[in-house]
Amino acid sequence: MVSDSGQSFGAGQISGAEQLAGSGPTFILAASTNSHGDEDGSVSQNLIQSEDTEISEALGVDDHGSGGMPQFDFTTYSPQIVWLVICFVVLYVLMARIALPRIGTVIEHRRDRIANDLDAAARLKEETDEVIAAYEAELAEARGRAHQIASETRDKLETELGKERMETEAALAKKTEAAEARIAETKAKALAEVDQAAADAAGDIVTALTGLTATKAEIDQAIVDARSGDRA
């Protein structure tokens, strides 16, 4: 492949040079006839093209079939360079003057817009946070106040209740005391009656047993002695 193209490269070069020599004048002719009028120009162009093929056929050079690399046909260099330069410069001017500034501004505009939107969002979030904080502070305050009111009420109720209970207890204690006193009195009276009954019984027993009559003082003394002896 490599050696093949190398050989044909030489052939292509020669054919190119011959073509240049052959076609050079006719091209100049074409340029000059073109200036006269469109109809004349097209006619002469056809003429030249047919002339070209005639020349290449006459020389036995086949443009396509030779296998020579078209890239090394030097006659094609000048039109390629000229049109490359024209096209590249036109494209550069279009890009540098119109396309790139336009794309750049659109991208920048979008970036600004996004940054602004983000700023706005951050600001709104801050405001929301503030509102939430205020609400929570108020809520906490209200809760505190409610708590205070509740505890105050409880305290008041407790003191009232305590007072009432104390009063009731005092009344109850007084009643209990009176009852106890009455009980003690009744008990003392009953005991005294028991003593009297016992003394009478004792005097009767002494009389019955001894025929003697014991004085009241003696009987009482004996009862006191007996009770103290019981206790001992």
Partner: protein, 253 residues
């Protein structure tokens, strides 16, 4: 591509035929051949396609971009990042040039993938002129920026004095071969890819209905590969331009 061959006038399967320059409108100004060729036609098509993509698609200037506007913006940011990362913010002055270069080569490569079309970048003279513009431009930028000090680029700092003459020769040669390597890389990739596709296409026709399936399958795969190469070579060309620019602007060695 077989049809292309048939229309070419029965010259057999010549893989080089597709690279032929045809003068659509012969012109001669002052003895200089400036004919409007098929190559020129496709250069104009490339310019129109790039302009449509970058200018017409942005006509809406939409805040939320549509498909076409997204593509234009993506390519803008892609090249802008490439320049900024490889040549620094000082290189952004040359962003329009790198963008034009990248888009021109990319579209020329991609449009060349369309059957029956012509690949502008498959001609060494086109890629060489582009590479030469980069080379001359970068050299001028280097001298404007650093004056005669730009020549220190060829003398690596910290190298022993004994080796200096040798190193300077090597550096100068490597600097001078930049446009050659830059242009040949792109040209050779395009040439080889399109030639290979053509050869495989001819195999498909030669082997016919029974045997042609294998080369056809290979062709499908190679076509995918060629699209990758078309993008990659445009990218490589642009990124090397950025790297050369960086050398000229900052002279890091």
């Amino acid at each position: 591509m077989a049809a292309e061959n048939a229309s070419g006038g029965g010259h057999g399967f010549d893989p080089m035929h597709q690279f032929e320059i045809q003068r659509i409108l012969p012109l001669n100004i002052g003895g200089l051949d400036v004919s409007f060729t098929n190559s020129a036609l496709f250069m104009v098509i490339v310019v129109i396609a790039v302009s449509l993509m970058t200018i017409a698609s942005m006509s809406g200037r939409a805040l939320v971009p549509g498909r076409m506007q997204s593509i234009a913006e993506l390519s803008y940011e892609f090249v802008a990042n490439m320049v900024r990362e490889n040549a620094g913010s000082a290189g952004m002055k040359f962003f329009p040039f790198v963008f034009t270069l990248f888009m021109f080569i990319l579209f020329a490569n991609m449009i060349g993938m369309i059957p029956f079309s012509f690949t502008v970048t498959s001609h060494i003279i086109v890629t060489f002129v582009l590479a030469l513009v980069v080379f001359v431009g970068v050299t001028i930028v280097g001298f404007i920026k650093h004056g005669a000090g730009f020549l220190r680029l060829f003398a690596p700092s910290g190298a022993p004095m004994v080796l200096m003459p040798l190193l300077i020769v090597i550096e100068v040669i490597s600097y001078l071969t930049r446009p050659v390597s830059l242009s040949v890389r792109l040209f050779a990739n395009m040439l080889a890819g399109h030639t290979m596709l053509k050869v495989f296409a001819s195999f498909v026709v030669m082997l016919g209905v029974w045997g042609g399936w294998l080369p056809l399958a290979a062709m499908v795969a190679f076509t995918g590969l060629e699209f990758l190469v078309a993008f990659l070579q445009a990218y490589v060309f642009a990124i090397l331009t950025c790297i050369y620019l960086n050398d000229a602007l900052h002279m890091h060695h």
